[in-house]
Symmetry: none
Subunit: 207 residues, 4 copies
DNA sequence: AATGAATGAGTTTTCATTCAT
DNA sequence: AATGAATGAAAACTCATTCAT
């Protein structure tokens, strides 16, 4: 599909990828301009469409590329041998913040993808997004020590509540950061806040 | 501000409002076309801009209109005298689903508003959105019977976890519904699922 | 033609005239907006077109109105019994500046008229403008004391050179004032400069 | 800046330039329609904006282009070694008329530029215009034989009066020509008329 | 006389995409 | 592979003018 593109020398590939990610992350799918992308990447108009047939394909490629990259780094760093669920999810929170710090554009892009509801893209993406969420969920739950949880509650519900809590917590923080975009996220405060929720959830769901 | 518009006969107002909501709900702010709106509403291009100076004002008007409408119906139906938090939040879930069934377009529009990240709108809306969320939150917590909760956990954390759980639950259901839009939401199943979470949360957070 | 309008009570007439003059003076014929005029005048859209069939007619009316007003004041103040040409033209310069100070909007409007070359207006106005220039010229020359001029040069050429000199002088000053619009015209400096040209021209054209 | 455009083949460049000059000359900046320009030039709407980012840039380009063209031809033809001021200015008058005859559209366009007062353009152009006037003035006066003039009058005033006289003379002729545009300018009559003013001015300002 | 809702052709500008070179 | 000129539909918005009330 994108074989032609992947045969390019790495430096040019990167120039194009970075330009495109930056544009999409900043403006969302609809408003992103292929004009700006080629200008920033320093290539010609025709070339972009030579490699990626159209805007949508480019976006799809970028999504896969970014997802792959982030997921790889994520699973490289996380210790799936750690069987205590809370310890594992605490790791996940920390790693996500590290990745956000190292790849801010890519992270913003993925975030946009998950928010963007542009009619053009919806059809192709909804399924893809949901699958990814499911896979991640499954991986995060994989091989955890179930014996630590209360046995009088369906484990699956407990895990969902815990996961949702931390997802909502970071969503809220990101929303706050958007409102005062100059300050960005206060990682330390988030960490402290997260710890408090860990305590609560451990208390009520561990036996 | 929109006095001129509100003096129109109701039927025409509705035609315009419905056409606009439909377009914005389907395509989001940026891609929504004022051309399509006037075509659907059966009015001239000039007229739309006679009433609403520009696209942004129209969007703002629609948001206020929809929010007002939904909020009114919501607070009309919900019994804020009910002091048991779970009973109250269970009511909320049910009412939201009823409203979604009765005003699907308006609901989708409001949802779009909360997702839409168009650069054009961001500035004006982020604050507005956050305030509304805060207000709603506050109202849902207002005057509840705090004595029922465990006293060894900060109440504020308990309430957040409960609220987040039901928010995520409905988000997930809506996402699923989007994937197979023909079937829509299976209200009964959601209701049953919600009940199970009520049980879990009552068990762990009530004393 | 404009009988209907002239039957209005004076106060309303003035509101409309002033609003229109202001708008045309500021933006020129093409860009001037009838919308702005009615808003500023506090009348309805329809009414403006009831009195003046269309924009062009309104402009024409205003031109006649302003020209009449300025010309009347001008010829009231100038002393046509003064037979010395230089004294008379010096008076004209002073009076013009006084009028500019008293009726800045009207003056700017007339100036615009003489500059404006909007295709819409051209046909109707060119003749009108030229006639006015001719009439004014004739009046300024009327009954002057010809005996003071050198008899070896055609008087008509002398008068033209003198008139042109002062016209160009004020054009230059106005152009300068436009470049630094905050300071406006420095009347005193212009007056001094004009005096110097009087001296030169007297020296070479009086015998 | 306009490199892309200047790389086009000359024939297409000319088609676009001529179409644009014609439109701007006829209607002035505000009313000129880019739609008409592309139609007349036989190119697509997008292309015009590919070469010139917007209407204002196009206008600016045309002004520079036209000014350059006319100025070059003018200074090619005028003999700046001629030190007699009157002979030199007589040359100028003749050359201007020749240019007007050869490039009527370009001349009309430049004239429009100097009259146009569109708010959009004012800021950028006023300075530009004034500078050009200053430069031209300076060149016309450069290296003239000052010894021929009367020494009892400030030379600068003499030169201004002479220049203004011929400027006004041609302005008047052009205004007359506009009123009966079919006949155009009667160059011979203007020439004869100009000669008479030369005589007068020589008589009074040469010693 | 007076209103102001309504019109719709018009404006400039953008954009993804194509194609000859 | 690479260029970039070229397209033309579509966008938001304006405006003088009309007309039913």
């Amino acid at each position: 599909m994108f074989a032609k593109f992947l045969n390019l020398d790495k430096e040019k590939q990167d120039r194009i990828i970075n330009a495109a990610i930056k544009e999409f992350a900043q403006k969302g799918y609809d408003k992103a301009s292929t004009n700006e992308i080629v200008k920033e990447a320093g290539i010609s108009k025709g070339l972009l469409f030579h490699y990626f047939q159209n805007k949508k394909q480019l976006y799809l490629f970028l999504f896969d590329y970014c997802y792959e990259l982030i997921a790889n780094e994520f699973y490289e760093k996380i210790n799936l041998n750690e069987r205590d669920f809370f310890t594992r999810i605490r790791q996940a929170v920390v790693i996500k913040m590290e990745l956000l710090a190292v790849h801010p554009d890519i992270f913003r892009f993925l975030q946009e993808v998950f928010l963007d509801d542009s009619a053009e893209i919806k059809a192709e993406f909804e399924k893809k997004k949901q699958q990814l969420l499911d896979i991640n969920f499954a991986k995060m739950y994989e091989n955890i020590d179930k014996s630590k949880f209360r046995s009088d509650i369906a484990l699956e519900k407990i895990l969902k509540i815990i996961t949702w809590t931390f997802e909502k917590l970071s969503e809220e923080e990101m929303a706050k950061a958007k409102l005062s975009p100059k300050h960005g996220i206060d990682y330390q405060r988030v960490q402290v806040e997260a710890e408090k929720y860990f305590e609560v959830l451990t208390k009520v769901f561990y036996q």
